[in-house]
Amino acid sequence: MSGKDHSSAEDPELVRRAQRGDMVAFEELVARHRDKIYARAFSMVRNEEEAIDLSQEAWVKGWRRLQQFQGEASFGTWMTRIVINLCLDQLRKQKRHRTESIEEMDEESGGVERQMPVLTINPTAGLERAELRRRIDQALGQLSYEHRTVLILHEFEEMEYKQIAKTMQCSIGTVMSRLFYARRKLATLLADLKKNDQ
């Protein structure tokens, strides 16, 4: 099978070939989905090196578990779930090693977000895409991993509350609270960034 054949083959065909041990087919799958897998890892861990390592680990795991892939979801979705789980494991490990900040304790106990004033002006209105991305990146980096992850799973992965709760091993109520806090906090951070620029 030539490289040209692989590049023109659809994902399910490449997966079937890779399941039979065809490494070239798997390499083509990596090339097709590597940016998305990396982007997901980066959004979650907010560190380039770590995101590269985690996405690499996800691909190795993907190869080893390829026989378990039955095609219920797309291959890209299946791989994304693998990298999300690896990131969550990593973030949980890191959290165990650091002291919780006062802000995080406030977030968990709830109530802070209710005291935030509602923003009547959209802080992202009129921003160039690149600038918007820079500001959101900065704001996302200031959220705790639990809040950031809920936001990412909901907005980027388009998961429902129930799926997020299962992935993060928490209740639907916790997902709703975290999502609410994350959105409100993000809005406030974006407004602060706008204020600082003026």
Binding site: A31, W63, R114, I136, H154, E155, L190
Partner: protein
């Protein structure tokens, strides 16, 4: 606005409310500006995140990234096969040790009966029952015979070695 109402408003935005509750929230929105403002803020934040990851690329070339994955896959497969062969060796070693000891004793007996001089000895090291030493003092020869292969990486790299 209490927490439950806020979360319900958010669930309304996300399409997670059953129809009857969604209708209630919609009615409330028609009457309450505070509800409208909060919903607008939540919607703006959601909108700002749309397409954020588009164009994000892995900062490594296709070849380099793949070579690292391939290396890791190969390393894993080598470790698996080494572990499988190690398990096999552990199984056979149970039989090889007694067989080796017996063969050593037979060899020592044969040398003593037919070829050994009065200055020769054959012995088994106490510290290692799998090793046998034969000394022929007249010929100034010492022969050490191990009844098992060495268990280290060097032995794996060069499985046979002949000493002249």
């Amino acid at each position: 606005m209490d927490k439950e109402t806020q979360l319900k408003l958010q669930a309304y935005l996300d399409g997670e409310l059953p129809e009857s509750e969604a209708r209630q929230v919609a009615n409330r929105l028609a009457q309450d500006q505070e509800h409208v403002a909060l919903l607008a803020e939540l919607r703006n934040t959601r909108q700002a995140l749309v397409g954020l990851e588009i164009g994000m690329t892995l900062p490594e070339s296709r070849e380099f990234f793949w070579s690292k994955i391939q290396q890791e896959i190969s390393r894993g497969e080598t470790a698996t096969s080494t572990s499988a062969s190690a398990t096999g060796w552990t199984f056979w070693r149970k039989f090889l040790f007694p067989a080796g000891a017996l063969a050593g004793l037979v060899l020592a007996g044969l040398i003593a009966l037919f070829g050994g001089s009065e200055f020769s000895t054959a012995e088994t090291a106490v510290a290692d029952p799998g090793a046998f030493t034969y000394h022929d003092f007249s010929a100034r020869t010492t022969l050490v015979w191990f009844s098992y292969p060495a268990e280290n990486d060097i032995a794996d790299e060069s499985p046979t070695a002949t000493v002249p």
